[in-house]
Assembly symmetry: D3
Homo-oligomer: 287 residues x 6
């Protein structure tokens, strides 16, 4: 994760302001001595957010020092000590909740992602996320997804084009719409077409799509379709049209990951680890 962007500093400031409001009534009333604390995992999981915690406390108080005992993406057990922190007592207490909220939420996503990624282990198929993310937390939630072993899909509407049902309808069909996007998008942007039938998938390849999102297509249909699409892509000789095609299945029940993996697609995309996961419980203990 690229923690250096000034944009992230602003987010951290806003989150602190959200909790501090017009000032912490309680913590500013206690003596300003230094103290130490550590974070304890109350359940097992995959960690995410260490560097953010460090940075968040620094935004509140330059003198707080954090020592990370685990790297993002590593597993931890219940009872494991995750990080140590020291600094002025009021600052540790005032930043505690915001820092925990952030890391517990992100670790929940990393943990849920890792569970699904395990199911795909050995298949060569990768798990991808979606744009279903909590408003304001897109890049961090996608980072957590990656810490859990997944691969990120596009980060927003501006780094890759995806043509859905309505784009295709209003853009006057697959071929015209792909052409319209190709003519205005930066050349490195990949163009992905979402289809619901084998016929649309073939049309998308003819139109020169770089990726096909195969939405809610049954595994047995996919099994047959995937090699056909790969062959079709590779025999297209036109320069402008993509011969390397990325095939992605979506609308997949997490229970059926292995069955879909066997169809030969490159990716299975799912929003579940972000929209259906629970926070992992950490506790900040003072010494």
């Amino acid at each position: 994760m690229d923690l250096r962007t000034p944009a992230l500093n602003n987010l951290l400031d806003e989150w602190l302001n959200e909790d501090l409001g017009r000032g912490d009534l309680t913590s500013t009333s206690i003596p300003n001595h230094n103290c130490s604390a550590y974070w304890l995992a109350k359940q097992k999981g995959v960690f995410c957010g260490g560097a953010l915690v460090e940075r968040l406390f620094k935004r509140l108080d330059q003198s707080v020092e954090t020592t990370l005992l685990i790297t993002d993406g590593s597993s931890f057990d219940a009872g494991q000590c995750l990080l140590k922190i020291k600094g002025p007592a009021p600052s540790l207490l005032s930043g505690e909740r915001t820092a925990l909220n952030l890391a517990m939420h992100l670790s929940g996503i990393a943990t849920a992602t890792a569970a699904l990624v395990d199911d795909l282990n050995g298949t060569g198929v990768r798990l991808a996320d979606t744009r279903k993310t909590t408003p304001g937390l897109r890049t961090l939630e996608k980072y957590a997804f990656r810490c859990g072993g997944g691969v990120n899909h596009r980060l927003g509407l501006d780094d890759a084009a995806m043509l859905k049902e309505n784009h295709l309808a209003w853009g006057n069909g697959i071929s015209n719409t792909v052409e319209a996007v190709r003519s205005t998008a930066p050349w490195p942007s990949r163009i992905i077409v979402e289809v619901e039938t084998p016929k649309q998938a073939e049309e998308a390849i003819h139109a020169g799509a770089d990726g096909i999102l195969l939405d809610e297509i049954a595994p047995d249909v996919l099994q047959e379709l995937v090699p056909k699409l790969r062959h079709l892509a590779s025999t297209k000789s036109d320069h402008k049209r993509s011969r390397q095609i990325v095939l992605e299945a979506s609308g997949v029940d997490p229970m059926n990951l292995k069955i879909y993996a066997a169809t030969g697609v490159d990716l299975i995309s799912t929003s579940a680890p972000i929209t259906q996961s629970k926070w992992i419980d950490f506790s900040m203990r003072f010494e």
Copy 2:
């Protein structure tokens, strides 16, 4: 919810920027005609976020019109139409994801809250939230909690004081710490003391606390403690000390809500509907 704050406008803008980035590559390539759409619930639940959806689309494009068919806090069934929306096709498509993410997340919280509130029905005990909220979404998640029938706890560190274990230790005991906060906090701020033993609870009342958070105290101990504390509070004659005391149980397993409700506390606080809930699935269908 107070939707008029300029602060909320900034949040809506940031969320749109998060997804649009340097501009939507796909939707700006299709013709700019007007179209209509509606939102369909794919599972049942309690709705939250209607006015936010309306406002979000307005921030993106003044000409988008939204008609809400359900009020925040109302229940809906799977298959129910929740709202109608019309405007330029590119604007509906570009705002779709952010608007859905927001409403699906908040409705997930409202729905999970309502399930727990049902358990307390008829007991006179209220369910309260905590400060465990997703960074950046505090006021909205607390609003969703209220839509589900809960009552909000303090909104941040600045509208009520809560003295926890470490404040009390470093502030040199319950009595001194309460006094220190009382002397600097605005007079309307309530002072709440978190305790883990009956003895601490009594001390807090002597110190003049306005509320006692009884953390992880067994129901049978509470049963006996609650009337004792109420009596103690009412017989304190000193002006400065609170005689109306709010008793709140925390650290309660959601399975045991009724048992705790029977102890006579005023509130049971829980972070579960915010940190452990799943998004409710909505779909935006174009006509």
Copy 3:
């Protein structure tokens, strides 16, 4: 005062930008050597704003060092040296005006507050401020009021509810309006009702108000009313209704503070030290 909020950093930056504009034409033309200065009080008063001065110069130039010789809330005499400061000459000169403006304004409020607080000395009655504050300076002016010995009233519209004449009229009477607020406000928020007659005051206690603001009620009427209200509050047995009531007199001429204090109210609120005070004169002298 909680100086750690990122929100305060932004205010300090804006105030510097307000004066610096597109850049200080004069001070950037002189040699960049280090120099020392001190602040001299040109009249006596109560000091406020030391830490803000320190922080303001740091925002302009990290290398400026400030040494405070007096704490906020302490009295000073004419001719007393208040703080010492050293750093690059252009930075001391460019920040001088903004820093002085801030501290002179706040010290004016602290000084005016202290004069009134002196009048209440020994009565047990506290002086409270209002929401009449200069736009943009609310928390700092309220902090200055506290430095002068006063107690803060609510900080804004969101940390306590106050029902005034029009809320009560449009909310359909005291009882209904208090109920409406109680059902949506966070539970730690106190509900205060502003009344102009003894009858309304009693009604507010029946409705379960936590505080009564007794506006423009004559001292002799108050004298009789106060014990009656306290009795009424203490005999109300209903759980939901407040038995500890805070009684506050407003609309009091500062000349009559002692007379009002004798009526037994808890607080007398006044905007005078914030809206009617004059700046205290300080001078920054270079060595």
Copy 4:
């Protein structure tokens, strides 16, 4: 006043956020019907801030309509109706305090300025303000000063250069410092030199200053000095040196304005109407 700057919109938003915080607990609980109100002057004075009030309510709620019954800079009597306003009751109530605070503060400055300007009536001498302004309110307070009949001095450190004692000392004398500023400042910027002796004043004219601030110089000394300086300026033939000189007296006790006006200076500058004035009392009455 130029109300169109996007910068002003941000200020208005911040001021509303300052009071609304996480949302108005009280006003959002009452029914959302339309209502009317008017502003009543409770004492006489000179009005300032009408357009700001109108704009502030619009930022909170587009549907609020304000009708101004008095223009900025006009006098009003106690009991006079200043403006009418209508819109949703919660919006009028939530914006009331911030709008009143702004207009009462600015009208206080306009009124205090007008009193001093009256003293100079018929003398041809103008009253000028200084950079002693409340942080965050510089342009508005200077606008209020103008509404009271004064003329503004420079708006900040960047639109005119003023060389004070320390600039001159560290810049190696009047002549060198004026030269240094002249070589980097935009050509339309006037260069003003603050002096404390007749000798320095003459030196400043030789150096080519555009204005001389005569600080704490006795009226009898000024009487003699002013014509001498004007003559000196007019006989300097060098192109680069100013022959039109603006002479400004400062450090003048407001009681002695007429005596100083008689010395022939162009301007008398004073911070008093901004730093020593009191708010004028207005009341918002609902119909």
Copy 5:
């Protein structure tokens, strides 16, 4: 161009604030009547920025109406009328300079781009821009480049990866570095390798690059290399490695575009239309 992003609104506001500062001294002094104006081209060129002009005036004053007489990307002649505008005289005058500056700068880029694109006419080779753009104007300058007929390269460091000499050196060679990026970047991101020799180019294809930037390679070397690279890419059978390769020449003198186009590359990238172009002169005439 996607004009709907809230981020663009902020930029427009900042640009207006930059010129207006504390308020337009001149235009606010003239009567506030309505007037009409039009824009006249003083030289021929390709237009860019119409919608921005419209939006900019709206940010300053909602009542200004702009009618565009030419679309972005169209050619115009000297003396042609480009747009009409009407509204309050002070608003037209205050926004005039900022609007003209924006459109004249962007039209300069569109015009310079179109001149080079003409040279490539009929070759099938596209002209691409670079990240050499004026700070703060990246998306708008790239939009102008597209209006001139060019195709955009990546918009920033986050929508495509480009490995340059130092990335490759410090990342331990082409193969390792490509692999490192592939494992963390979102899957739709293309990976481009910048090379200076044929050997490096082949290595990059083996490593699975999606694009090769052939920097400062002589046309005759390219002529031979291009088909070789295409063949190599198409015979790579590994799934993960790209078989469709985009070949881009850079470091090309604009005089030699045709020679390079003949080598069979897909793209020629150049910063010249953005860094070496002059503004096109427009005049705003009042009626």
Copy 6:
């Protein structure tokens, strides 16, 4: 240049965010070791932007150290080393493009300005810039103009008043319009009148203008007009009217600078070095 304004920090952050977007995909994938680099001039010119480069890297990463080997405003030759820089490799790579873009653009302006200033060498006439600047870069481009030896004209609409054709028409003539501005503008603001005929110029002097912008008036007409205007100004005895007049020629072809300089005007203003200049090419080389 005044680099201390918090406003500049925000600009630097925005420019970094513009390029980094959601994070640098490439540079964050390479090892985080320290490295050194230097900047090489690829053509000769006049340097501008050193301190900005230093500050920009610091905003991205506090640990980057820059050593400037040339001061702003100094000439350099092709092949000259301009600055040295060291720090973490990913930070040097991620900030490289933005820093170079800034310095190359500004040095282009400084270089173009210096070429014209050379033409005026020995004439005593100064070259002034205009408000034709790239949106968002006004103060920096004007600083670059000064580094090239020019003198800045007003920085915006708020630090000096300039009355153009339409102001004069709508303000009801020169005399009335000057008077209207004089009555509301701060007294240190100069009032400049743009004229196109000798008659208007004389009228402007009668009206008390501080400067006359003589637009598109032929050199031979100017030759005669200039001494006449100076005489007229000096013989005006009225106090309020300016006797020192600044005469500025505009609409001058850069080829004819010397001819215009001979007419005796004080200034010749031109936008050419800002709107018609090309970037100077620098290269960042890693060691």
